[in-house]
Symmetry: C2
């Protein structure tokens, strides 16, 4: 037995723990499991994407043996271009077939495809990278080719499940590899890091293949056009929609950039199949009778620029919704998207079309296992230590309770947080010292800290607007040499703006006169005086506190 330590460090943030990226370290060498991103909320004014803060890896590029990706969802792979650009290109990036296909397309878009060594690692095949044995274990999820990551060091093995369910009848006929999981359990698993997403749902998640027949039943009741929306990456869901359309002799149009892109990737890899001639182009939709068309569209989360949202706003080039259409939401809103989804649904109702959601019929199945599946994973793999991940604090606690329920010692269960590394050695396991974690924001081409003053300024200006005051004074004696300029933006509903601007100009001149009289010639001091005087007057008049930006020009 070695005296070396295994460190498991979850990075990221925004509510979920150990979701987007995990750094596993042993003997100075590193494997990174997943490099995912998060999506900004409305409060993050103008931010495009949210990344895990991976500054822990800065200057460690040479220590990284491999990046291993569990599956192709954005919250598990989306940060990869940024990691490669900021940290460096590791020797190899492993994943399942579709995962590698999707990531290749993504890296090509970022002009990083040629530099990165992307390798499909077939499930069950073992490779050795430095001190790590690496093996992928086939599991089921709402995207094909989902893999758990089994890492073996001298200390023992650990399994990161990634996102998974035990679907006994998946669409591709390849259920989670329970035999291998059982074998791992009998060989002795040191640590299980398991998905907690649905730790609050009793029972077993419905099978993905139960969705197809339910969709077909819905389709059979539709006399007009059918528009189905789902996640573009849910290749098997899209496949089932195509199959149901084919069964009813309807044509299929794929609408939305990511829908077409993902279908093409999956189709090229042989993961998706469709009857010859079933597809029509979006612009051809109007050439076919309504009862002969199924549209598969992006926008299941009510995303502002998505194809479905445009349709609901009567603003889509190829699809004009009308009475008689049925829009089928084969997805549920991700928490936080409820309002956007509800708005989209109601606009469709306003148009006079009908909406069917997962509340009306079993036309959606979660990709994450429910409580009985989490217990099955624990019972199959019989881990010595358990670290629940992929969930908020509530779900981690519930997952921990499930682990206790199947007989794991309470002191062998580690409920952590992002930035808190679990350290395992021959003597046991414990949390180490906190590491700087959190998130980074992507704004245009730049990446930065959420505490950046610019974002504070955006919040301030977006709440109350901005006043800019330009005063021009003589460098010789501080006297006013041009009329002050007062400009405002984002200051709402001013009835008497002209009067206020005049009042402010007078105040600027008074302030400048006072400063000149007092012998105060320093521009920054005058600016401070202007800032305070103007802020006070604006608040008196408007009861708001816009940003005040005084500029003193000396000529």
């Amino acid at each position: 037995m070695s005296s070396k330590k295994l460190r498991v460090l979850p990075l990221g943030g925004l509510g979920e723990i150990g979701k987007n990226m995990t750094v596993i370290e042993y003997d100075g060498r590193i494997v990174v499991v997943d490099t995912g991103l998060m999506f900004p909320t409305a409060e993050m004014h103008g931010i495009d994407l949210v990344l895990p803060d991976f500054s822990y890896l800065r200057d460690r590029a040479d220590d990284i043996e491999a990046i291993v990706l569990t599956h192709g969802h954005e919250d598990h792979v989306g940060a990869l271009p940024y990691v490669l650009r900021e940290i460096g290109i590791p020797p190899v990036i492993y994943g399942g077939l579709l995962t590698i296909g999707m990531v290749r397309s993504k890296l090509d878009e970022h002009k990083l495809g040629e530099k990165a060594n992307l390798q499909e690692l077939p499930a069950g095949e073992k490779v050795q990278r430095g001190p790590f044995g690496i093996e992928l274990v086939h599991l089921a999820h709402s995207i094909p080719d989902m893999r758990g990551v089994l890492l073996t060091t001298e200390l023992g093995t650990m399994l990161m499940t990634g996102d998974y369910k035990f679907d006994q009848t998946p669409v591709d006929g390849r259920p989670a590899d329970v035999s291998r999981l059982a074998q791992i359990g009998s060989e002795g698993l040191m640590l299980l890091c398991g998905d907690s997403t649905n730790a609050d749902r009793p029972g077993v998640a419905p099978s993905e293949s139960s969705v197809g027949p339910a969709l077909l039943r819905q389709f059979e009741q539709c006399e007009g056009r059918i528009i189905v929306t789902s996640f573009a990456s849910n290749i098997h869901r899209v496949q089932q929609v195509i199959d149901a359309a084919a069964a009813l002799d309807r044509k299929v149009a794929l609408v939305g950039r990511s829908m077409r892109k993902n279908y093409n990737i999956a189709s090229n890899l042989g993961i998706s199949q469709a009857p010859k001639g079933i597809f029509i182009q979006p612009r051809e939709i109007e050439n076919f009778p309504d009862e002969k068309v199924v549209v598969i569209s992006t926008g299941s989360q009510g995303e502002p620029l998505s194809a479905l949202r445009r349709m609901a706003n009567n603003d889509h080039r190829d699809v004009q919704l009308h009475a008689g259409d049925t829009v089928v939401f084969s997805a549920t809103p991700v928490p936080g998207n409820e309002r956007a989804v509800n708005e989209t649904i109601d606009r469709i109702y306003e148009i006079g079309a009908t909406v069917v959601t997962a509340a009306d019929a079993p036309i959606h199945a979660s990709g994450h296992g429910w409580q009985e599946e989490l217990k099955l994973m624990l019972n199959l793999t019989k881990p010595r230590y358990v670290m629940p991940v992929h969930g908020d604090f509530q779900r981690l606690r519930l997952h921990a309770e499930l682990a206790e329920a199947v007989g794991v010692d309470a002191e062998s269960i580690f409920r952590g947080r992002n930035g808190l590394p679990l350290e395992v050695d021959a003597d046991g396991a414990r949390f180490g010292e906190d590491v700087h974690a959190g998130v980074m924001y992507v704004d245009g081409v730049n990446i930065g800290d959420p505490d950046d003053a610019a974002l504070h300024d955006r919040r301030e200006i977006s709440a109350d607007g901005i006043f800019i005051v330009v005063a021009t004074i003589s460098a010789d004696d501080g006297s006013v040499v041009a009329d002050p300029e007062v400009i405002f933006r984002g200051v709402a509903f001013i009835d008497e703006a002209d009067a206020l601007v005049e009042e402010l100009k007078d105040m600027v001149e008074d302030t400048l006169d006072d400063a000149a009289e007092a012998g105060n010639r320093k521009a920054d001091l005058i600016e401070q005086d202007l800032h305070d005087a103007i802020g006070k007057l604006v608040y008196q008049r408007l009861r708001r506190r816009p940003m005040i930006l005084p500029v003193v020009i000396e000529v």
Copy 2:
């Protein structure tokens, strides 16, 4: 029979139809039913409140016979101060006892209390105002003293239900007045405008009085402190929490401004009762053993500044949450608030306290009737015409289907929208011509249009920031007389800001030189040139489009 028309005009917006304010007109005279407001979403940068656009009433102050308020919720009374200030004070404002009490307190805060003639109109009492007979009909809701509004003209009677449920066992022992509703039906009701909020829920809403025993069962399982959060205006809910606390010999602290205010109003009116000595001050909480305390707090919707949110953030003066505390959410999230509520819950879990929600136990009951109740209302009142209101397009359609199911003719059911008046005369009913409706925003002390340029500017600046460029030129020959100033705010993560600023200053000087050479001396033309040149360079460098604000000073 008169040839005059009755017009029913719903005003407002933000997804619900006929919710906040309805103008009823007959023979040139007006009754306004409800004057409610809406709450802004995160996309409405810095807006404080959203009001129905009631410009239709401008110059009609003299025609208003009365404002009638169904109940005291903000979405039914919150716009009243603005209506009184902008339109004028009507002769009388009617409502139930608590409604008038709450509105009096609100108008006093706005210094309008002395001018407004607020009158409690007891249920069943009829008054005549101009051509309108007015009667309030007692109904049940999640606030006491909820009243439907029965208006009688020469043409017949119409009933606006307001928000209601048929609670057979309400906490105050006063169920909805089904006898009067039946009588209205047998006398002949011309038009029913009915609440559609829960038109999608089959069955009957649980009684408010079923919540008390469920709360008591929860409380009995708690060994530490109990913190209950609910809507402050749900007086009967707060009463039931107090009763459960009393049964377990626990003290009660009311935390949060609106919780204390509403309780005081209800208590002064005799609507709330509590055992002597049960209340303690928030600052005294720590003086009592945990198992002897119940805190009743605002914040059930995760509101950023609410007492519960502060507790969850470890930032409340009087209540520090800790392991052993149980936080009971006796409320469900209003659509759109899910994320804020989830965040609050998860922070409480992070602290180590336990959370109980309406998903865990029947500790909440909706204040809006479900499908069977909407049908009962229709069957009791037997309306000739039905206009479903209080809901989005989906719920209005479902409510219309319920009306058809109980036998109302499809052509007698009118699914409208805000701004579309229903007109009824001796010949029948039909929609009239659209009226300008929509919403107005309140920003500080000012009210204005959502399309105000200021809000567009806020969105632009909050997305990408702002660059301000000040150029000082000679009025004589256009030559540059001072170094240009380049200032930016809200522009995130610029690695080489100094270099960019220098580059921009050079470009400003070049642009000014070009303008001087070309004989272009007009400040506004130079500003346009600067705007375009700087915008282009900034986009090249940052891939963002911040607002560019050039200022040319001539000396």
